[in-house]
């Protein structure tokens, strides 16, 4: 394993210490609980927005704490959901008196730990709590034979848009409803060119031959749905888009927000190239317009090479909230 770290057991806390030192203007970090909160806390009367999950997906989630996005985030070990105490602490850190929306990704571990946290919060007489679960990954069948679709790229979009709505002063129910709506309008699909190595495991999670790619990859280095031969970017883009466009039932003339997301080890030059392919296919083959886009490493899987495509069916309101100011380490414009 070749990584810039000291002790595999201390990667998360040492990295959070760096995040805190790099962004003292935006956030504060409780290294004990590994909870990151917006500098100065949640504005009284504003709905709090919280997220949390395993680490290794940076900038998600801690890097999205700041104006216009999250009020607090809690960070589990690498690829391991936070424990209930952390969700509880993040909730309190984000509570400005108007309730808190928890954005969760649909994984058994995340949901079980969050559920226990919510039990604890309810026992503390905290009732103003809403949960939005993202499950946008079309690589996974959403059936009773699986744990349901995984939450991937849509999580970034939900956090941005719900963050903007909360900033505008929408109430708890409205923020939660928006989050669910954004998730329902989003689908994703990813591809890996290489695996990644969990620091505490020390070896790559899976192996790919030099001429193989893995289609339908998630964000935990877990193997995808099928192997395919290495192929031109155009064909990869088409393979990722087809199930996404179909599952969303996108029609000609519709507009989307596109997240062309790098998995961590793929350089920007390739991501922009892939975005060019994705946009061309959407425009020319599908008759779909790109209203807004985001190209870069936004929800990663350590140093995995590869990318994912997330499409969100757009409308004027979504575009307006998208354009609202955001100032976080990982996403920033207008502020």
């Amino acid at each position: 394993m070749k990584k810039l770290l000291n002790d595999p057991g201390r990667v998360v806390v040492e990295s959070l210490a760096g995040l805190a030192a790099a962004h003292p203007d935006l956030l504060e970090v409780d290294l004990g609980q590994r909870v990151v909160r917006r500098r100065g806390g949640t504005r009284p009367g504003k709905v709090g927005v919280v997220s949390g999950g395993g680490s290794g997906h940076e900038p998600l989630h801690a890097g999205y704490v700041g104006v216009g996005m999250l009020d607090a985030a809690c960070c589990g070990e690498v690829f391991t959901s936070p424990v209930p105490d952390q969700f509880v602490a993040a909730h309190h850190a984000a509570d400005g008196g108007a309730g808190v929306v928890h954005v969760l990704k649909n994984y058994t571990g995340d949901l079980l730990n969050a559920e226990m946290a919510h039990d604890i919060l309810r026992a503390q007489d905290v009732d103003a709590l809403e949960v939005v679960v993202t499950d946008d990954d079309v690589a996974v069948l959403d059936s009773t034979f699986t744990a349901g679709r995984r939450g991937v790229g849509a999580t970034v979009l939900v956090e941005k848009l719900v963050g903007a709505a909360a900033e505008e002063g929408r109430d708890l129910a409205a923020c939660a409803a928006l989050g669910r709506e954004v998730n329902a309008r989003s689908r994703s699909m990813g591809v890996a060119l290489t695996s990644c190595t969990v620091p505490s495991a020390g070896v790559a999670t899976f192996a790919l031959a030099d001429d193989e790619i893995e289609l339908g990859i998630g964000i935990h280095g877990e193997p995808g749905r099928r192997r395919a031969p290495l192929q031109p970017a155009h064909d990869v883009a088409a393979a990722l888009l087809a199930p996404v466009v179909e599952d969303l039932a996108l029609r000609r003339g519709e507009a989307v927000v596109v997240l062309l997301n790098g998995m961590g080890g793929t350089p920007l030059i390739e991501l922009y190239l892939m975005f060019h392919e994705v946009r061309s296919i959407l425009h020319e083959t599908r008759g779909v317009t790109v209203a807004r886009s985001l190209v870069g490493n936004y929800i990663t899987s350590l140093e995995m090479a590869g990318c994912s495509v997330t499409l969100l069916r757009a409308d004027d309101e979504i575009v307006r909230l998208w354009d609202a100011p955001v100032a976080t380490p990982g996403l920033r414009w207008g502020a």
Partner: protein, 215 residues
Amino acid sequence: MGSVRDDVADLTAFQSWIAETSAELDEHAGHLTELDRAIGDGDHGTNMARGFGRCAELAGEEQFPSIDAYLKKVGMTLVSTVGGASGPLYGTFFLRFAGPLAATDDAGVHALAQGLRAGVDGIVARGKAEVGDKTMYDTFAPALEAFDAAAVAGSPVAECLRACAEAADSGRDSTEPLVARKGRASYLGERSAGHLDPGASSAALLLRAAARTLA
């Protein structure tokens, strides 16, 4: 068959169970993680070793007034340190296990059977798994049945626990051909077949340790 006095597990025995499990997890963390790399995300061994490692320290840090107080603390500690899917599941197992033992300082066959059943029910309540889903429940379900069967037949604790551990091993092995329907491995569909489930494997290890320490 041992004497009545011998045929019970006291607080020290439960503390040994946790210590023994922690030692076993330290030794087999790499293997469990390897299983999890194949059909999951490669953290199960580390998660379990971290959590039980912390639990093993409890006995030296605190005086526990009773078995159930100790088991509750173990459960809470697991919940607070393991994370992932297994944290709430193993945590709940111990939190619920404590319930039926509230009134006793020495857990005999009956108390153990009740504790085990409560713990396993807790896992199902949280995780909604059924037998054949390729989860830790595939280990716990037959293990619980075997314990009960031995208990009903009047076997002493040691024998009940031995039957339980053996059934656990078989339960673990039964997961290999299965296609996962719960947890992370379910994303793999058919490709999850041909691998042991990591949680089923750690559960077998926990119940083996019980057989070595609770009687």
